[in-house]
Amino acid sequence: MKKILSLALTLALILSLVSFASVEEEKKVLNWFIGGEVTTLDTTKTYDTISGEAVFYFADTLYRLDQNADPIPNLAVALPEISEDGLTVTVTIRDDAYYANGEKILAEDVVYAVQRIYDPEVASQKTTIAPIKNATQVRAGEVAVEELGIQALSDTVIEITLEAADPYIVKKLSDTGFSPVSKAFVAEKGENYALSSDALLGSGPFYIDGWTGTELSWKYIKNPYYWDKDNVYFDEINVLIVKDANTFLNLYEAGQLDGVSLTSDFVPLYEGDEALVDVPTLRMTNLELGINSVEVNPDYPHNYLQNINIRKALLYGIDREELVRDVLNGTAAPTVGIIPNGIAASPTGESVAESFGNLTYFDLEAAQNYFKTGLEELGVEGITLRLVTSDTDESIKIGTYLQSAYQTNLPGLTIDLANVPSSVRFDEMMAYQFDLALGGWTGEYDPTSYPNQFETSYAHNHGQWKSEELTELINKLNFEDGTDYEARWEHLRQANQYLIDNAIVVPLEQAVKSYLINPKLKNYITLSLGYSSFDLTRAYFEE
């Protein structure tokens, strides 16, 4: 009898194992990547694209952006109601949304999340995402966090009060900064909140598992309580941080990853491959000009860059097509002005390039004439400028190209190249004492941040260009044009034109990220706006 019983038990065990194994087999798994070490997974603190991408799986957003970057309701039931003056934005969230622990998501959780961004106690490094009322004062500790212009009117209704109307507010509401955070959960975890997956609560299609704070691989597991779980295909997304581009590629080639990011060296190898996917970014690389270094420090050795003809020679004397093609292997696009293509569309739906035209073209003859005139005005035969770049591979490549191209194109110009650690470069720029520096800017949703870099009072106005005209335009953009999109677009055009006409900066290239993605993967969205390059939440494998 005992034998029969043990036999039956063994059989049952084997059967259950077999059935378990078959369930395991059915599990739909995506093997994906994260571009580098994550700095934080606290959605109220993320400020870089890597962390932005890593939180995107488990943080539900009020809106999602579609492939055309148009917002579609997600946690919110519909597009927000915006008052006529544009200052009050009312968002209603779903009544059937739950965290991964089964707890209901409430409007007050979104309010709490946004308060955390500005709360000086939390000390978030996230930059201001929207002109929310009292944001600056709350951050400075001048008024209480409850005074921030966001409140819950009920369990599902959120009211946001803005300081100025913002035409991009709906897109900005797709940021994970507006993802709900449970106050009770944060209180329960205390100091350890967001330091490991156990101390993180998923509100989105997945929750995070197996992240201990410093892991190089972890999982996102489907949230069984997610309101739209029927449209979430994957049961698990395994992610991996691989720092060596070659290893990354080997893992993809071996079928262990369904997607990898490519460095520019590898892109030519996959030209024409159906797996190659290019995602334009909003990252602008610029040659910054230390125009007024001599005003900041009277002992500064020269004032060459105060001469507009010298600056214009630098602006028109570089062939951006060649830079992008030969140096960056096509992982970038030549700039058209100081505002990147793709960040916003004109009132009639035109792109930045179509609407503003290409202002940063290569004109060797004009550049040489400008340079000659400049030298005459300065009363010198030739000039030497020091170009400071970071010591990353790409910066060194671009720096070397600029040195050789400028010295060839503009006889009489010598470029001394200094490749230094990025903190050293940054220190020189922030001291406002440098000749040329390879810098750049990545905006998120609003094109105004690009001309704003050169506004007189802005702390990171490295060239210290002072202009009332530009300040006036920026003020109109930030505070007056919120409800008049046509006027706003016109002022943006004027700011762009102004900066180019005065050659305040030399825009070089707009980065494009290249990826290899398993061609079977469908329905994913590539994003240029915001912090994540992909929305994989509704992606699936074509059978």
Binding site: T39, T127, G213, S217, L240, T247, L251, V424
Partner: protein, 312 residues
């Protein structure tokens, strides 16, 4: 035995003093690094920067920060990493040190055993084919950087032959084989070279001739007389090498996607992650002074020529 106590106490005191000097010098020097420890310094507003400095105590005078830091580390609090949003340094290093230490020890062990063996063969066949081969191997091993070896090993054993994983840390011992091999090239070449030189000298000495005359076999001579004497100088080199391998290799760890500590050594400095810089410096120095101390003790135990003062 009693004579050892004052010696060890003196050595321990000097170790503590060395560490204290290193901590102090590093703490003050790193504050002269340009830039801030905040990753996105290029977009922080002045008020935000002020708020962050206040939160992390960087608004305090340098000397009081130094005293605070000393107090904290005596309580085992090494601070938080500013690159890994507020993770405790002890957690960060604790999680990342395991793989690095494992790889380092495996590499030293494997590299030394093979290297000693090759060195012995070379010495026993001095100026013949095998010697030339071993010496060539030692020179190549010392000249070729380990990341080149790593990429070659990965290509051969993981991609072409598919015997071992390309990288990652998820297949237990199998995951450690290729990185260990890549890292072991240097200790292998080093010990091969050392043992060969030492043994050639030992094997030509009078007492070995006597052993030969007494009819002792070459193998026995090599092991019981030659190797024993030739190993002593190797200990001096092995100690620091073990420490440097245990504290991780940036490139090899990156190539095999090993979650080790190698990168923290360079990245923390480049990103002004103050407390991580301090912690990795303390870790490295503490390991190094300990290993030097142990080497000295070991030396005294095995080499009769070196003795603690006062000992016969």
């Amino acid at each position: 035995m009693n004579r050892w106590i004052p010696y060890i106490a003196k050595r321990l005191f000097y170790m503590a003093l060395t560490l204290f000097i290193i901590i102090t010098a590093t703490f003050f020097l790193m504050n002269f690094l340009p830039g801030t420890p905040f990753n996105n310094q290029d977009r922080l507003s002045a008020s935000q920067l002020e708020m962050l400095n206040k939160k992390y105590g960087f608004d305090q005078p340098l000397f009081s920060r130094y005293l605070n830091y000393l107090g904290n580390i005596l309580h085992g609090d090494f601070g938080i990493s500013l690159q890994f949003s507020d993770q405790k340094i002890t957690t960060l290093l604790g999680q990342r040190m395991g793989p690095s230490i494992q790889l380092g020890l495996q590499a030293v062990l494997f590299g030394t055993v093979v290297g000693v063996f090759l060195g012995m063969i070379a010495a026993m066949h001095q100026n013949r084919g095998l010697d030339v081969f071993c010496s060539l191997f030692a020179i190549t091993g010392r000249s070729v950087p380990n990341f080149v070896v790593a990429v070659l090993l990965q290509y051969l054993f993981a991609i072409t032959l598919k015997w071992l994983p390309i990288g990652l840390w998820d297949e237990g011992f199998r995951s450690t084989i290729l990185p260990t091999l890549a890292l072991s090239i240097s200790p292998m070449a080093e010990s091969c070279r050392f043992i060969r030189t030492e043994m050639v000298e030992v094997l030509s000495s009078d007492y070995i001739e006597l052993a030969r005359a007494k009819g002792m076999s070459e193998i026995r001579i090599a092991f019981s007389h030659g190797l024993r004497n030739a190993l002593i100088p190797l200990i001096t080199v092995l100690g620091p090498m073990t420490v440097s391998l245990m504290t991780g290799s940036l490139v090899v760890e990156n190539i095999f996607a090993v979650p080790g500590i190698g990168e923290q050594f360079t990245k923390s400095i480049l990103s002004n992650d103050y407390y991580t810089i301090m912690a990795v410096t303390i870790l490295f120095s503490a390991l190094l002074v300990t290993v030097i101390f142990l080497t000295d003790i070991l030396y005294q135990l095995i080499d009769p020529r070196v003795r603690v003062e006062g000992q016969a």
